[in-house]
Every structure is written in structure tokens, then in C-alpha cells.
Symmetry: C2
Subunit: 199 residues, 2 copies
DNA sequence: GTCTATATTTCGATAGAC
DNA sequence: GTCTATCGAAATATAGAC
């Protein structure tokens, strides 16, 4: 889908995505005009159309980067059989999820702040979403009757813990080294399952 | 701030807020035009201006309802002294938070889906926000050096658990009675603090 | 590749009749 | 209280020169 395969224009393209990521996150997608992005880069609005056909496509590409990274994680979980096997696979996934959220923090914030714009985007005609939304896949996993409700609540709970501490409330823990914070989160989610399983 | 004190027009006003809540949540604030709202109510766009001076004011009023309800909870917590006393007060707050999120689920979803629109709204000149944003107050509490980091992570973690299970992933637990779900969430957050404190 | 200039559309908001 | 009609401002997107 990208436009120019030329090797130098690719830099500009990447800069556009960088600026868009920041502006979309901090002012919101709808409140950010193409003029905002262009001015920040010292070019004009029209130049953006050389790299992206539509404004939507900029957001879409940022979305897909997170989607693809997250999809790999979910594929792994969905490879297990729905039921006890999936519960057994959960602890390992939790650990990977911590790394994932630390690595993708910027894109996760973009998604968190622009949920409605993204919903409209992927729910649209144009974009062939043979690739199902991550959120929907997670909901399906958590809604499965093949897993005891208490377990499923604990699974959702760990997602909540990781998201809240590492992404949403991240501002409160700015001064804490990532590794230390990650260790505390892992400890917390481990307790969540440990105690829950024992009951 | 509301316009008409007349007793019958108040119904229409409330209906406007109901429809706006639904559309803002499902399509997003920016993607929802006043025409969308008016048509749903069988009136014209211009009629809305009899009840609200600006489109912003509709969102603002919905925002303030959640803000006021949540502010009461936070006031209570902030009444304690920063440090061990606040940690001691936390378990009780957690319990109240579960009820709060169940009661205010619709407004919480609105806020979650329109974070950027709301940030622009309250960060604006017009609205005297002597009332500080809830998020900022929470971040300050969670960032306090007077409380051990492990404790603060657990506090943030419980917020994450409650939000994720009762609001964000709520769709996965649609068929579960609220009371049962609330009980499981309370059990989970209690474990979170119980084990964490023991360490 | 980037520019200037402009077409097109949509939306928030206002004026004024009823 | 609700309507018709319209204004004015942005913003997306396009055309075409350089």
C-alpha cells in the first residue's frame, strides 16, 4: 500500500508518521489537520498527498503496526485449544504482554486516545479487514464458556493491570526505571493467577 | 448553566443528552454532527441551540456528571494524609469504586472512547476548571513518594482490574449478572492488596 | 518531490418568522 | 419551542506548474 519505493523519500514518509503519531496522540486525530502535520515538517499540506492518498491512511498505517505486532501474540494464544489448555498457556502470555506493552507504549497510547476514530476507520468499507480487530478476538477469548468464569475474570484482570500501570497511569511512574516497573507488574499479575487458581 | 427552567422543556433537554451519549460513545464526538442528534429526535439542528449554546456544551454536561460523581470519591481519599494512612484507606475505596463503575458504566465508556475530545474541551479557556481533572488527581496520588512503590503499583493495578473487567472488556461478560461479576472483581482486587501487603 | 491555487463539502452557528 | 434559510469557517482533496 505505501507509495514510493524510492530510498530517500522513505525517510520523509517515516517522519510524517512520527509527527502524526505525536499529534494524533496529544491533540486527537480529528483535531489534527494535515496543515498541522505539514507545518511541523516544514512542508505544505499538498506534499503529504504524495505519500498518502488520504488522511485516513496515515492513521491506518499506524494502526496496522500495532495490529500486526499484537496479532502475533494473539495467534499464539489462539493456537491452544479453548479450555484448560488455554488457561495453562496464559501465564506465559502475560509475561510477553508486559514486554509488548512497554515496547509499543506510544502506539498503545495513540489507540487509547483515538478509539472512536479508529473504530470508524476499521469498520469502514474501504479497508479489507480480513484481519479481525484485536479487541474483538480478546473479547471472544474472555467470553468463552469453556473456561471457568473466575479464571476468565482473572485473565481480564491481568490485562487491566498491565495496561493501567504501563500505559494509562504511566505518567505516575515516569521516574521508575522500566525494568523495575515491569518486574513489579509481573509480580502483581503472577499473584493474580496464583491465588485465583488455588481457590 | 442549563438554559430552560421550564418543566416540560427539561424532558427534551434530557432526551438530547441521552441521544448524544449514545452517539458520542458509538461514533465518537467529532464524527457525530448536530444533524445526527436532531434527526434521531425528530427535530431540526437549530432546535438544539435552544437548549445548548454550543455543541461542546452537550459533551461538557455529560462530562461534568461523571466528574462530579467521581470527585466525591476522590475527595474522600484525599482527605486522608498522604502516606500510610492513605494506604490504609485504599481497600474501602476499592469497594466503592466497584459500585461507582457499575453505576456510571455508560458515562465511563463515553469518556474512554473520547479521551482526546474531552482533553481539548476541559483544557480550553472557556471552561473554568477550578475543578481539576480526575485523571490528574489520580496520577498525583499514585506518584507520591510517601507511599512505597510496590503499594502504589498495586493501587494502580486495582484500578486497572476494575476498569478492564467492568467497563472495557465488559462485553465479554455481558451475560454475567452484575452482582456476580462485582463479587469476583472485589475478590480479585482484595487478593491484589492482601498478597502485596504481606511481602 | 514540493509548490500555489482552488474546488468541494460539511459542519457549527445565527437570523428571524411563526 | 421549533422551523426555514443562510452565513462563514475549516478541512480534505485535487489540478497543474516547476
Amino acid at each position: 500500500m505505501p507509495r514510493p519505493p524510492s530510498s530517500q523519500g522513505a525517510e520523509t514518509r517515516e517522519k510524517i508518521l512520527e509527527v502524526a503519531l505525536e499529534l494524533f496522540t496529544h491533540q486527537g486525530y480529528d483535531a489534527t489537520s494535515l496543515r498541522d502535520i505539514a507545518e511541523r515538517l516544514g512542508i505544505t499540506k499538498a506534499a503529504l498527498y504524495y505519500y498518502f492518498e488520504r488522511k485516513e491512511d496515515i492513521l491506518l498505517e499506524l494502526h496496522m503496526r500495532l495490529h500486526d505486532a499484537g496479532s502475533a501474540l494473539l495467534d499464539e494464544l489462539e493456537a491452544t485449544e479453548d479450555g484448560p489448555a488455554r488457561v495453562a498457556a496464559w501465564p506465559a502470555l502475560q509475561d510477553q504482554l508486559v514486554d509488548f506493552m512497554l515496547e509499543q507504549r506510544d502506539l498503545l497510547l495513540l489507540h487509547s486516545r483515538n478509539q472512536s476514530a479508529l473504530a470508524a476507520l476499521v469498520g469502514s468499507e474501504r479497508n479489507q479487514h480480513a484481519n479481525e480487530e484485536l479487541e474483538a478476538r480478546i473479547v471472544r477469548i474472555l467470553g468463552s464458556p469453556a473456561i471457568p468464569l473466575r479464571q476468565r475474570v482473572r485473565m481480564a484482570a491481568s490485562i487491566g493491570v498491565i495496561t493501567e500501570v504501563l500505559v494509562e497511569s504511566g505518567e505516575a511512574f515516569q521516574d521508575v526505571p522500566s525494568e523495575e516497573l515491569a518486574a513489579l507488574v509481573r509480580e502483581t499479575t503472577a499473584d493474580l493467577l496464583g491465588v485465583g487458581t488455588a481457590r
